[in-house]
Subunit: 258 residues, 2 copies
DNA sequence: CGCGTGGTTGAGTCATCTCAATTACTGTGG
DNA sequence: CCACAGTAATTGAGATGACTCAACCACGCG
């Protein structure tokens, strides 16, 4: 409910409805799973605190991390619609996630379409990020891939006030980074060293400091438009021609975040 | 409307409503785009005939193909919710796609929640496929990656009656395959030759014949569960524990395809 | 103070890429 | 019906990015 609570996008009553529907939030320790591959639907989850990842395991033990989830992100919807989950979600830091049971969720969706729209919106953004990751995995060399990930996390964490200027929490081990960008640990290590040597970043303990944002972005070929930061979809920055469609209007309404 | 029309999942009236909402279907020649990166929302599209791909271009001219779209698949929704599209959709063969304007779509969603559920369902399956592609891109070696793609297309095309036993249409140039699996054309070529030499496939003209399905699947590490073939979500084949949630019930209802 | 996890380093190997031709198709106009 | 153009597939050869294996180091915690 994090982002939901932050903006007055849903009507008071809607916010209250959501609050009522939430179960006692679930707490997770590091490496604990909130959603297990193949499991039955648990409901719709919203990250309240902490960082998690979606992942898939292969038979040979390899793991692909599909996404990093940060406060405000939702997950678990696919399991509801498809009856089981094709991937897992695990905590990378101690976490707190809110859960809405499928039944309660249904009730919410029926009584207020805006909530449905908000969910669609969140889903579409996660999809957009996934597409960018696919593009990285398929087309970008190791160095760019890692730069791109750093850029993305910087922006996303800043969006939810988890970044302090150029400093951001960085709880990702090199093994995790490797599984996310499809590179071996050794190569991740060497690439990070290169970034340090070039004076682009400082990475110590679990905080990342970005020293040269411009150069980092250029090295990554990073263009944040896929993150849809502008509050209103269609964006205020980009000239928005008259869109007279209702659904779009609804989307604009609820867009300022879930 | 393809799959929609095939199953009596939506009520008669709902089907009629949808039919009424559809614009004159759009025809596309090869390489023509239905959705352009950065473009304004056009509406919700449903592939009626032909094969298309989602893709993203990078500044250096490289292209990542994000998905292959086959009859029954929808696209264009993200542009509606986000106000513009972060990726393009282009025809790989001559195509026909039905369009529902954002306004009409909204109307449909309001008057019949089942249609919304059907859209969610389709979206969730496309997401699942995308996750499998990510996993391929990040973790599987070239040979497995290509085998996996062949397996997937065989199943998906068979599902919409486009495969004739072990023979399926294969309008994908090696360049297209390369852009989909993140490999160079040369390497795609050599890998396909290997598959031929091993007696797994015949690939001539624009049809692919699978000679040894078992071995192909094993080579790919292919497990079709991510395609959610079972008609009902949660599947009839897999023991379905009582799910008393309304949304899930609705999903089951509308699941047999959009 | 020792163990365990995570990070670092070196060295050799291999998968995949790029470059650069050459060959095979397909459709078109003469 | 054939010559030609343009696209797609194939082949060879050399370069290299990324991997694996195998140590070794550093820090945090009990």
């Amino acid at each position: 409910m994090y982002r939901l609570a932050q903006t007055g996008l849903l009507a008071e009553t809607e916010l209250q409805d959501v609050a009522r529907a939430v179960r006692a939030p679930q707490r997770l320790a590091i490496d604990e799973s909130s959603l297990v591959e193949g499991s039955r639907p648990l409901g719709c989850m919203v990250v309240q605190d902490g960082l998690l990842c979606r992942y898939k395991m292969l038979a040979n033990g390899r793991r692909q991390i599909l996404a990093f989830l940060i406060p405000g992100d939702t997950f678990g919807l696919s399991a509801i619609f498809l009856g089981r989950s094709d991937h897992g979600v695990a905590a990378l830091t101690p976490c707190q996630v809110a859960t809405i049971s499928p039944a309660k969720l249904h009730g919410l969706l029926v009584q207020s379409p805006n909530i449905g729209t908000a969910l669609w919106h969140d889903m579409m953004i996660q999809d957009s990020i996934a597409r960018e990751w696919m593009t990285s995995l398929g087309q970008r060399p190791a160095y760019e891939r890692i730069c791109h990930l750093l850029c993305e996390m910087r922006i996303r964490l800043a969006e939810v006030s988890l970044a302090d200027g150029d400093r951001l929490p960085w709880p990702f081990s090199q093994a995790v980074i490797g599984d996310a960008v499809g590179l071996s640990i050794v190569h991740v290590n060497r690439t990070l060293q290169r970034l340090r040597a070039e004076g682009l970043i400082i990475l110590r303990g679990s905080t990342l400091t970005i020293l040269d944002w411009d150069r980092l972005q250029r090295s990554a070929g990073f263009n944040p438009s896929y993150l849809y930061l502008g509050r209103a979809p269609g964006g205020v920055e980009s000239p928005l021609p008259a869109v007279h469609s209702e659904p779009n209007a609804a989307a604009r309404l609820a867009s300022k975040q879930l």
